[in-house]
Symmetry: C2
């Protein structure tokens, strides 16, 4: 026993001296242990069961913040704290729509994030348009007093490539329609499913002029409305009660495994804690919370300590405009230069197939040596450009090198932002693979002295998902 | 031209003389023409688009009745009429449920058919039971003042074999729970999907004593409630506004292609026109309406006339207790003996794989000769016992021989009785195969003099689906 300890001490000393070489055997062990069974699923089961939906700024999200603090402590992180973020509270109260006239029937809708209400039932004739470009090109006269309906079906791709185009209609459509005199805005849901779930998601507010009520139709309802429009003019009634309700304080929650040389930097991994209010936020983004909390916990449970600190951040208020992420970058502005690498898991619960990073070409060989630990997981290094998880964007803008462990998102947009985003959509074994990847790569970078700065600027890449970036509205608006 | 006509007249005369042998080449032609493209999909597209949901007794169902009359006329039936049926009107106004306490969150429910309301929010502790037998076996003391939750997952089978056991809990559970002093009843939806759609469906009313509010949870919500119960006692609040609103008159709609020898009998095919209020009733039972309307229309469009008359019946108020079917049997009691055969399409839109009939063994060789026309459609004759479509049950009890063209129902209970029962769930080519089968077999039997009476009694078989059979409640109850 004494001999073993001495040997371990000797090894530690030797490795410690040669700090340029991270202890990759520990990265491999973390990887293999997670593959044999991780805490990832138990964590997302706990979050989605005990908290359920957790819309940013609500009491539900506050319960999630308390849950995250307790869970990180329970998982053995040696420092756990929270940092306040002030956000506008947006609430959905009710939403209804129905076709009037000879073909009278209900339509299933959900208000889009930051939509204003209708102030009682609002009636109007529907004008169907194929996409946002058609809306931008149309004569104002055709839209004045009408209800705009953008009917673009999102394409299914493993990497979510169909999202950008469809989500542009959601982000920009309402204010473009408002600027042309429309009374309300309807969108075919940004989603790849054929179920009767409307997909919510954020919209940008009008910079000048008025906002109009905005809602999404489920894919079958969009089909139905389009079929009705082929039979002649369609008048509908929309009744939405939603809107802003003042400013509130929410929190980012942070757990840290302090490194043996804390001044040598911080490796940040994270996910967002808030969810939309419709489902229980399992694939978006309970999965990411489960993966990153478990990966950090596996490192915390080691007898060995990484050289750099590992920080796991549960970001607040992502869905409503990356507000937690922006808050993190502001609060931690003085130490952003100590953030040596940052990754976010926010693309569901599908297996990871690739690894990208936001670094210059000459840095790749060194990073690729560390990322070799991922190869047995079926993860290929991919040097092409791209973007990180959305909450990493403010860090990128602050000069922090980012990585992206790229998941299979083939079915992600079947559930994304719907009531159907629930725990049963997650395969526990797929989570294990992701915990393995995050734990192993995080260790490898944290235990190394790799320096990936400076980073290529954000303009050269496309963000992973479009988000509202308007200034927050005044309280109570 | 004149020569051709004369030849046709001669052929007709010859065949007409040998009336025991139906003109099977016409059956084959009907089959092949339907396979090349039928009217089935266009009919269900019209019904589900122009009417949408059509709950029995509502204005929506009245619009469907007018639609059916107009559609049968447009399709060339030579007689079209409707027959009144008086039914109790049951309406759903709203339904909500939420978990109270530290894990507060909403649960998605739908009131079960004929449920009473809660008269404001009702709170109680949940008692989970595995199935109806466990409910029947339990001590009353454990249920008094509680909310019963039957958590039985329906099994997936091609022939819907899992339905009976799960639906028993729905039909019988509420009154069994009420008899034991429970305050409300919750059921894991009778459905094979894993989406957040609660499945509605009818319940039997208490014969003695009080009724209690009854609702179904979606499968993911049932999982969630069960997980919460593993953490300790769970109190929930249920708020249902639903109930009876007097008696109303609805109608069966009938289209007939009159035979060349009308006294030789009637071959009846049909489907039900009403649907639950949640979806647009595409697979249940717009598909059946499309299939049978198109099959009859194909016969009406022939230059030839079958010997017996073909009747297509759009039954009213099936979902709320086979009320249209019972009405049809009563209204037509004097001519039930002229109904030589009856079939209903009410099991979705999947392809037909088998044919059964409710006849004695010695009648099979003769029927099998006619059913041979189905073989190229991949439909096998199956002499084992079974039951007809639900609306045929009153005819069976009246001595009418029945047939069942058995569909692949593997995914039927994914959509059945949910908001997700919409047109996009139907494959138009699969409908063509079914129209082909109905048209060809209906012709073959109508053009023959086959006599399949007397029929084996109903007791020897299991009905296709359990239904409420209690006396209808008094108006306004």
């Amino acid at each position: 026993m004494r001999l073993q300890l001495s040997a371990a001490t000797l090894l530690f000393t030797l490795v410690g001296a040669a700090s340029a070489s991270p202890r990759m055997e520990i990265a491999e062990r973390l990887r293999d242990q997670a593959m044999a069974g991780s805490e990832g699923y138990a964590i997302v089961e706990s979050l989605t069961t005990e908290i359920g939906p957790r819309l940013a700024g609500t009491e539900d999200e506050a319960r999630a913040v308390a849950w995250a603090e307790a869970k990180l402590r329970e998982l053995g992180y040696d420092k756990v704290w929270k940092e306040p973020v002030t956000i506008p509270l947006w609430l959905r109260r009710h939403e209804r729509a129905r076709v009037l006239g000879p073909f009278a029937q209900p339509l299933l809708i959900t208000a889009l994030g930051h939509s204003v209400g209708t102030e009682g039932p609002l009636r109007g004739e529907v004008v169907e348009l194929p996409d946002l470009s058609a809306l931008r090109a149309i004569d104002d006269d055709r839209l004045r007093g009408k209800i705009v309906f953008i009917n673009l079906r999102m394409e299914r791709h493993r990497d979510g490539a169909g999202y950008g185009k469809a989500a542009d209609g959601r982000s920009e459509g309402p204010r473009e329609a408002a600027a042309r005199g429309a009374r309300a805005f309807l969108l075919r849901s940004v989603g790849t499913d054929s179920h009767r779930f409307p997909h919510t998601g954020n919209t940008r507010r009008a910079v000048y002029g008025r906002d109009i009520p905005a809602a999404a139709l489920s894919n079958p309802d969009a089909d139905q409305l389009s079929r009705l429009l082929k039979r002649g003019p369609v008048e509908i009634e929309v009744d939405i009660d939603a809107g802003f309700a003042g400013e509130v304080v929410t929190h980012n929650v942070i757990g840290e495994v302090t490194g043996s040389e804390p001044d040598s930097g911080i490796v940040l991994i994270g996910a967002h804690l808030d969810s939309w209010d419709l489902g229980t936020g399992a694939v978006d983004d309970g999965a990411g919370i489960g993966i990153t909390f478990a990966a950090g916990a596996a490192i915390a449970a080691l007898e060995e300590t990484p050289r750099r600190s590992v920080r796991v951040v549960a970001f607040a208020a992502e869905e409503v405009g990356l507000l937690g992420a922006k808050g993190y970058a502001e609060t931690n502005a003085a130490i952003l230069d100590r953030h040596v690498f940052a990754m976010e898991s926010d693309f569901g619960a599908g297996r990871i197939h690739g690894f990208r990073a936001g670094i210059h070409a000459e840095k790749w060989p060194e990073l690729e040596r560390l990322a070799g630990v991922l190869a047995p997981l079926g993860i290929e290094v991919d040097r092409s450009p791209g973007g990180p998880g959305p909450d990493i964007l403010p860090l990128w803008e602050g000069g922090v090198p980012w990585g992206a462990l790229r998941q299979d998102g083939t079915d992600y947009f079947d559930y994304h932002h719907t009531a159907d985003d629930t725990l049963d959509k997650i395969d526990p074994k797929a989570l294990d693979q992701q915990v393995a990847a995050y734990a192993a790569l995080t260790w490898a970078i944290a235990d190394s002295d790799i320096d990936l700065r400076p980073v290529p600027p954000r303009a050269s890449s496309t963000p992973a998902k479009p988000v509202a970036t308007e200034p927050v509205p005044p309280a109570g608006s």
